[in-house]
Structures are given as C-alpha cells and as structure tokens.
C-alpha cells in the first residue's frame, strides 16, 4: 500500500511537471510569433491603426508585463477559472465586454468525456468476445472474418464512418437523430425562447444522440483491442492452469471468463492508458461528423485561430491545452494506479510497452 502511495506521489509530480511544460511552451510559442491581441478589440476587416492595436492590447490586459500575466494565469487556474476569452470582445461606450471561457468550456468538456468514456467502454465490451472467439482457434474462419472486419475498421477514417452512419441511419432510415448532442440532465427551457421550443435532454435523448458517435469511436479502436486480446488468449489457452480448469470440469464459458480473459485485462488497461491522447484526436472527427460542439472541436478552433483576424485567442488556447493535458495526465494516473492495484507484482513502473499502430494516423 505504501508502495502505491509513493508511486502515485511520483506520478502526480510528473503530471504537474508535464502540465507546466506544455502550458509554458504554448505561452512562449504564442509570444514569439509577434502576436497582435489588439485585433480582437477593434472590428475586423477595418484597417487598424498601431495606436488602436496598442489600445486593444491594453484593454485586454495583454500589454501588462509578461511575467505578471503568466503568474495571473496560474493564479486563475488554481481557482478553476480560465478567465475571459479574447474572441467576441466588444467595445461599447468605451467599456470592453468579454466572454468568460468556463461556460463554453465545461459543457464541451462534458460532451467529449461522454463520447470518450462511452466509446471506450463499447470498444472494450465488443472486442472482448471477438478477441476471445478468434484467439481460441487461430486461423479458423471466424478468426479470419473478425480480423478482416477489424482491419477495415482501423483503416477507415472516423469522419467517413461518421458521415456514412449519419447518412444511412440518420437521414435515410431515420432510426436515430442525425447529429447534435443532448445533455443527460434535462435543463429547463431558457427564458425568451418561443413556446414550441423545448431544450433537448434526458437519458433517452442523450443515449440516442450518442449511439452513433460511440460506434464510430469504437469501430476504430476495435481492431487494436481485438488483436491484442486475441494474442493474449492464443497465448494462455494452452497454459497448464487452463487445462487444469478444464480437467476439473469447468464449462468452456467459465474457463474463458475466469481463467483466460483476466490475463488480457492488464494489457487492455495499459492500452486504454496509452490511447487517451489518440482518443482525443479521434474525438475531433467524431464530434465533427455529428456536429457536436465538444472539447476537441473547441481545441481545433482555438488552435486554428481566427482566420479573418489572423490572430490566436491566447486565453482560449491555453484553456484547451490545459484541459487536454489534464485529461491525458489524470487518465494515465488512473490507469497506472488501477494497474498497480490489479497486478501488484510489477509495481506498475515497468509496464509492457506496446507497438502503437495505425490508429496513430487519425489522432
């Protein structure tokens, strides 16, 4: 137990270091590209004078000493607050109104986490039986079919899967909503909307809206997990303890579920941990295909910047970078801790590496 505590402390320190490094690098990169934050204050498309640029930067607080801004940013972060974004800033009667980041960021984060977690669970749940079937008899017809489907899955870009699923099940057959996102908890209709309008929400709407995104997500990762479980099953099916279990009369299903598959669980856990970064990249395309305004899309928008302003919204950029880094760090921490709990022998420090395959392509 003490070992796990020590190990977790080390990992948390490492995670904080990573977070610091990523934020600082983003910060340095932004200021080294000769940015013009003032462009967010004065109307775009109009020729902006140097004075206006200076004034805009001053009003946004971007003209203060860099170290003050840097310190302020961390101070805000410690309060769980990402400050105000620069986009959509409007100057009326000499008063600058800016939009806070948190009300945009947190719903987007929730939507993305719903997609990621649901998709990951679906991928694991589907690939466990598939991997078990094809690992039991390597080279059989079932094995070949499963491997082929998995190969197609990993070679199809999620945007294509999404587009085709939307077209067929959403638009042509009308079985499921073609896109969009509904919250799990139904919020009251906001004031000022016309009578017929109702805000979308509730467990049923939430599920129906997320089924296709989950499948799109799982289809890609299915191949990797199935292949890995297959290898693990094929390895352990000839072990002595499996033969013992069979000899004492355990049914085949019991042997698989209690003696063979638990071996694969460690590797599945490892892979889930390593795929968190990839998954966030895949989420961009899943969200894009279904028109969900989640974190990944928000990040791409923040990274791509405002093309008409030719400027990057630094607070928004830092906010999404921080959240992504936090997801990766926390996700890895959880997985590593689970790993140490599930398999106390290895102490989690030396987990097996894995070859990262084609899924890297879409992240």
């Amino acid at each position: 137990m003490r070992r796990i505590g020590l190990f977790m402390a080390r990992r948390i320190a490492g995670g904080v270091l990573t977070l610091w490094a990523i934020v600082t690098l983003t910060w340095l990169m932004y200021w080294s590209l000769s940015p013009q934050p003032g462009r967010f204050v004065y109307p775009l498309g109009i020729k902006v004078t140097p004075y206006q640029l200076q004034d805009g930067a001053r009003r946004l607080g971007a003209a203060r000493p860099k170290l003050t801004q840097y310190g302020d940013w961390w101070w805000h972060l410690l309060h769980g607050n990402f400050g105000h974004q620069w986009s959509f800033a409007s100057l009326n009667d000499n008063v600058l109104t800016t939009v806070p980041i948190a009300p945009t960021l947190y719903p987007a984060l929730r939507a993305t986490l719903c997609i990621l977690i649901g998709g990951a669970i679906l991928a694991v749940v589907i690939s466990l039986p598939l991997g078990a079937i094809s690992g039991r008899r390597v080279g059989s017809l079932a094995d070949k079919v499963i491997s082929f489907v998995a190969l197609i899955g990993v070679c199809t870009h999620p945007i294509v899967t999404g587009k085709l699923l939307t077209q067929w099940f959403g638009i042509d057959l009308k079985w499921l909503p073609a896109g969009g996102y509904c919250t799990f908890v139904k919020h009251p209709t906001p004031a000022g909307y016309p009578p017929g309008y109702e805000s979308c929400g509730g467990p049923v709407a939430w599920t129906t809206h997320l089924i296709m995104p989950w499948f799109t997500f799982a289809f890609l990762f299915l191949a990797l997990y199935t292949r890995m479980i297959r290898a693990s099953v094929a390895e352990s099916i000839h072990e002595d303890y499996v033969r013992t279990a069979r000899a004492k009369g355990a049914r085949e299903r019991r042997v698989m579920a209690l003696h063979v598959l638990p071996n694969a669980s460690l590797r599945v856990l490892t892979m889930v941990g390593m795929d968190i970064g990839t998954a966030l990249g895949v989420a961009v395309f899943v969200e894009f295909a279904y028109g969900i305004s989640g974190l990944a899309r928000l990040s791409v928008n923040a990274m791509a910047g405002d093309p008409s302003a030719e400027a990057t919204d630094l607070p928004m950029l830092l906010a999404v970078v921080t959240v992504i880094a936090l997801i990766v760090v926390i996700g890895n921490l959880v997985v590593d801790t689970l790993y140490a709990v599930v398999d106390p022998r290895t102490g989690a420090a030396d987990r097996p590496g894995r070859t990262k395959e084609i899924a890297a392509g879409v992240m």
Binding site: K163, L164, G277, G281, I324, I358, G361
Partner: protein, 349 residues
C-alpha cells in the same frame, strides 16, 4: 588491405536476406498486398493521364452541363455535353444544350456543383495523397534515424533530453500540433510545389506530418540501438578501434533496416490518413487541389465551412469513392508491413 577480411563475413547477411525474400514471396497475403499497392501507385500516377487521354478531358475541366438545374451533379457513367457556355433564356433560366452537341464520358459522374470529372479527380487525388505519405515517411526517417542513433548509442544527457521531449510531445494529441503548425505556416509554405507533378501544398503537409510523426520511429531506433550497443559485434568493432560514428554507420544501421521497413509501410498509410484528417479540418492542401482528403472534405465540410450543410449537392457516392481508394491503399500497406514483419521474424507470429 582489409578488403578480403571484410568481404568474408559479409556473405552471410546476403544469404539471410535472400531467405527473407523467399519467405516474403511465398506468402500469398504478402504478394497480394504488394500487387494491390503497386496497382494503387499505377492508378494514381498514370491513371489520371491515361483516362484523360481516353475520354478527352482532364480533372480540372469544368462542365456546366454536368450538373442539373439544382446544381446536383451527374451520376455514374453519364455522357455530359462538352459545352462550356451555359445558354440562358431572357429570365436567366438555364436552357438545355443545343441538340446534337458533342458529349464526353464521366465514368463516376461529376464531383459537385463545379462539374468536374470525379473519376479523374479520385485518380489524381491518389497522386497527392501517396506523395504526402511517402515524403512524410522519408522526412521522419531523416529526422528520426540520426537523433535515435545518437540517443540510443551514446545515451546519457542526449538520451535524457530526447526521451523527455518525446514523452511530452507524444502525450499530447498529434492533430492539435499539426493544426497549430499548419495554420501558422500556411502563408509561407503552402505555395511550394512543382506544377501538377507535386501539387502546391503537398510539400508543406508532408513536411509537417513527417516532422511531428518522427517521434515514433525515433523511439523505435533508440530502443533497437539500446539493445544492440552492447552486442558482441559492436564490442569487437570497438576493440579494433572503430569510432562511434563508424560503428553506427557500418555495424548498427544495417540492423535498423528491417525495423524501418516494417514501420515505413504502416507509416505511409498512417500519414495518408493524417492528410485526410487535416484536409477535413480545412488546414491541409488547398481545397481546389484534388487529394483523397480534399475530395472527402468537399462532402463533409470543414471548420471554416462548417457542418453537414457543407455537403450540399453531394451524394453518398462522393464519400464512398475516395473512401474505397483510401481503404485499398491503407489496407494493402498495413498488410504489407505485417508481411514484412513475418518474413523478417518468422519465429514471432
């Protein structure tokens, strides 16, 4: 003086190489994937010109009569009037083309409201996509092999810096780096190209993808050298006084070739998929240049031209054609890599 001594041990690797080749050629899946990828290469580099010569138009020609009055494109295997001028009546309604005007064949129909030949664009798109994949792999190998050799062979501080950097970069989703870098470098790098052979934008996308994916081969090379640097043949080279660089060049690089080959085949496929992703986001090759990514992007829309609405005037088939092309090449490359691995390490199924 040393020629004879060096030649003698060299006979053995050539024999092993031949064995590997034999194993590769006797594997049906290996040959099939090789043939499939060769076909993809042929179709993308020679297919466009050949089809253009047969049907008499190329992938840039726009035929206004290839779309109907709603701007919906002509379907599969349709003969389209070659008239480039649209006839209008006095109320600006589009009139049908004059009777008996010459027509041209569009095998997969038109690509959208602009009325270009979808088939030739898919073939031409293959050229750009394959180029992105291959160039990106070459660039990442160029970055990864020297750095990986330094880190793996010498270890110490170089290794610590390289490993830490790799860890940090790999913890973060790659696509965000690519989007950020592409957006900031587009004005300077995107115009670079070489006529129709290497369309403008391809070098930029290849360079960025190659640079940001080089961390993976870097780790491979480093890991390989970490295990090899204490091998006996390296010790013996060191004992006869070979310098570190010479050991890397003469003794260790040949051992990297199989690893790099297995990685390279998959990486070409990966990089092609990355190109698709970038184009769909809207930051890759400019949308007027046909790549498999931009062909998909015109049906899905991009972040600048958002949502399913961007796909107006496109049918599901416009998603399906590039997808089939991508699937064939990616699946064959994947299988090719798997077959390389099986031929090189037959003991590891």
């Amino acid at each position: 003086m040393t020629a004879v001594e060096l030649d003698a041990p060299r006979a053995a690797p050539r024999e092993a190489w031949r064995l590997t080749l034999g194993r590769f050629l006797s594997d049906r899946a290996a040959v099939a994937s090789l043939v499939a990828f060769a076909l993809v290469l042929f179709a993308s580099f020679a297919g466009g010109p050949i089809v253009s010569a047969i049907v008499g138009h190329n992938g840039f020609d726009q035929f206004p009569y290839a779309t109907d009055a709603n701007l919906d494109p002509a379907g599969v295997w349709s003969h389209v009037p070659t008239t480039t001028q649209v006839r209008l009546d006095e109320y600006s309604n589009v009139l049908p083309p004059p009777k008996g005007s010459p027509t041209t064949l569009m095998v997969l129909g038109a690509d959208g409201p602009l009325g270009r030949d979808e088939f030739i664009r898919v073939l031409d798109g293959g050229k750009a996509s394959v180029e992105v994949g291959v160039f990106a792999v070459l660039i990442s190998a160029l970055i990864a092999v020297p750095l990986g050799c330094l880190a793996g062979f010498y270890g110490g501080k170089v290794d610590a810096v390289v490993s830490r950097l790799t860890e940090w970069v790999m913890a973060f989703p790659l696509i965000f780096f690519l989007v950020y870098a592409t957006v900031h470098l587009t004005p300077t790098l995107r115009p670079i190209g070489w006529g129709h052979d290497i369309p403008a934008g391809v070098p930029m996308v290849a360079l960025l993808i190659g640079a940001f994916t080089s961390f993976y081969p870097l780790r491979l090379v480093r890991a390989q050298l970490l295990t090899l640097r204490n091998a006996e043949f390296v010790d013996s080279s060191r004992m006869v006084g070979a310098s570190g660089l010479r050991i890397i060049r003469k003794d260790l690089l040949p051992h990297l070739v199989p690893t790099l080959l297995v990685w390279g085949a998959v990486a070409v496929a990966t990089d092609m998929l990355l190109e698709v992703g970038l184009s769909v986001i809207g930051v890759g090759v400019q949308s007027s240049t046909a790549t498999w990514g931009t062909l998909l992007a015109q049906t899905t829309g991009t972040i600048y031209n958002a949502g399913p609405g961007g796909g107006a005037h496109h049918t599901t088939w416009h998603t399906v054609w590039p997808t089939i092309a991508i699937l064939i090449s990616v699946v064959s490359l994947n299988q090719l890599s798997e077959s390389f691995r099986r031929a090189i390490e037959p003991w590891r199924r």
